[in-house]
Symmetry: C2
Subunit: 406 residues, 2 copies
């Protein structure tokens, strides 16, 4: 992580899981695989918090030293854990593999810990206690770490501390207003918020997520207060609201489609299948999503989406007209009610003076109505693709919201 | 970030950019938007390093307090920066917006800093110095932060410190051997590595990335050493190597296709366009990628990929036969040399006793040769999709590597 080859998603996962129990993450530290650095990080963490969660550094190879550092830190010797050997053997056999010296060494743990069996991998989970404080060491692989945290670690933490604080959130996703215009609109209202309730602005490509957070030991009072405040926000921002919960654009679109019994397809050029991917990330998307044509090459636009060749020749492949024909062609070819299309230059090559890198034409169509839009998205290739994906999803959301009759 | 709503990608970006200059990130800290927590984090960071990079907390809204904390920390008063006002005005006008009180307040900065104009957004970049150490405060929005770091901050840091350490990396991506078997194979060799050179194992869905890192003040000696060691690794692991640099699977596939002058398409069901997305993330992929059919609904498999209806009825839609027909159908429909197909159950719904959630059939085809494989992928929906995407890319890589004659 400290050379940027791997991105930490575990700490965010823990935080999201802990929040509903009123647990506040104080800080996240990323430290080198060096004994001294790890010890210092442990000292710091214990000085400011009651629970320390660590991940990673538990592999069988020489660069993984966390287990030895924890033994030095909490005392004891390395001992062989019989149950862990059984777990590891079972997992390896399930993968069609036999134990070797390296995997066998995974069953050695500090005598000062209690082992929680890891049902997803070969690194044991270790629970240490000292002076009423707790450290849980988990594997770094996100799938193992997430699964075992939810299944074992979190329930054991809750049982141990017997929590009684309440935390509540309300989310609003707003579109068509900038963060600063929003802040001015809410200024007076925000000043009057009680100390226990806090408003955060989270801008995100083309929209702003507003999050109201309340923390209190009186659950019912808090709940009432949050309801009242959320209602006030709703009244003030009515015309900008696209969703009243925090969810991906593709889920907002999915709800709109499901509620109206509509089906959708996509016709993608510069977004290269990413709109389809965003839509299908959502569980249950098969209720409304039928399929896509990714027409990267011009021939595919012609043969599978029936974009007329003369249109491409006359208007350019990156044009309003071609985007429109792609969306309408997808509706026909895939037999869907709605469709959204993109054609643009994601870069870094391919730009011209008239159509520079970052130019994206989009079209959304539904029941005979079509909306088109052009965006000039600055930045590198991945950003253009991601931003164009969001803009295309928003264009279709906008079309569906404006045409309530569809 | 501390409630897990946003994932930090900036620190990894900085680390990747700094590494070639021999700069080592010592730690990453994520702290709450609270003055005391920020001050403590600054104290810690300055105690262990010469440069502190901070991002975020610079927005115009009340929850952003970094600027005030920095003024208290480095001294001085808040002053109005004329040049920043011009920059903000220019940026806002470019977006078709006028300044309001909130955006205007962005031009107020501590008198103790030197401002670096942010050409990508309205939050100024601030450079502070004290006792020969440096703090640079940057906006949190990844696009702004990344662009301005590369364009302004990094060059200024290099000029300031006049670095002379050399760092070198060598990467090997290996497939078909587990991390622990690999570690046993390399055990003796690894023990003999000089202190200045370090081997890391980075397992990743289905393959292991090996990274050799060397740090030295003698650039040429290091370069020779690294070449020799990389060659030794190459000889030992020859039959497992899929790439000798650290790059995404889709880029490895892209190189294979480009070198042989082959074109590719995808036919995706459960991966929902994600393979297409992975392929098109790579700049220049239009050299070999033609297009895709995402056939989520069975009708699309029949109409656009020409999978025979009786095959779906007899074998089940998630079957070896259907995966094979999808891949071959995509080659025909999209007129490509190769294709890769997936059909499976991403979950959480849709599983049966015979075909549980996580079952994915894949097929790769090229010039008349077809390879099929079934994987049972544990975990949640997003993991199944991502893992199936990687497995499908690897299947096609395997086919191309095994059939050198293609």
């Amino acid at each position: 992580m400290l050379i940027g080859q791997v991105t930490d998603t575990n700490s965010g996962f823990f935080a999201r899981q802990l929040v509903p129990y009123g647990w506040q993450a104080i800080s996240v530290q990323v430290v080198a695989d060096e004994a001294e650095a790890i010890k210092q990080a442990l000292d710091r963490s214990f000085s400011e918090s009651d629970v320390v969660l660590t991940t990673g550094g538990l592999g069988p190879t020489k660069d993984d030293i966390t287990k030895l550092v924890l033994r030095d830190y909490f005392g004891g010797t390395m001992v062989h854990d019989e149950e862990t050997t059984s777990t590891i053997t079972r997992i390896m056999r399930g993968r069609g593999l036999e134990l070797n010296d390296y995997t066998r060494s995974q069953a050695m743990v500090p005598s000062s810990c209690r082992v929680i069996q890891n049902e997803c991998g070969t690194a044991p989970i270790m629970w240490f206690e000292r002076d009423g404080k707790i450290l849980v060491s988990m594997p770094g692989v996100p799938y193992e770490c997430e699964t075992m945290f939810v299944r074992e670690v979190l329930p054991q933490l809750i049982a141990h501390f017997n929590r009684d604080m309440s935390i509540e959130f309300r989310h609003l996703m707003v579109m068509g207003i900038t963060e600063s215009a929003l802040a001015m609109k809410l200024d007076e209202w925000e000043r009057k918020l009680p100390d226990s309730i806090h408003l955060a602005y989270l801008p995100q490509a083309g929209l702003v997520r507003l999050r109201l957070t309340g923390l209190s030991s009186e659950a019912e009072v808090l709940h009432e207060q949050m309801n009242t405040l959320a209602e006030e926000l709703h009244v003030m921002l009515k015309c900008y609201i696209v969703a009243e919960e925090d969810k991906p654009l593709s889920a907002i679109l999915g709800d709109l489609l499901r509620n109206r019994g509509l089906t959708v397809s996509t016709a993608e050029s510069c977004t290269g299948g990413n709109i389809a991917h965003e839509i299908t990330r959502i569980a249950g998307s098969s209720d409304y999503y039928i399929g896509s044509v990714v027409s990267y090459h011009r021939k595919v636009k012609e043969s599978m989406l029936h974009v007329p060749a003369h249109e491409i020749d006359m208007c350019n492949v990156v044009s309003e007209q071609v985007a429109k024909s792609m969306a309408q062609g997808a509706c026909r070819a895939l037999k869907t009610d709605c469709s959204v299309a993109t054609t643009g230059v994601a870069g870094p090559g391919g730009g011209t003076k008239d159509i520079p890198v970052g130019t994206v034409w989009m079209a959304a169509t539904c029941a005979g109505k079509t909306l088109t839009r052009c965006k000039h998205i600055p930045g590198h290739r991945e950003r253009v693709i991601q931003r164009a994906t969001n803009e295309a999803l928003m264009l279709l959301i906008e079309l569906l919201q404006s045409e309530k009759s569809i």
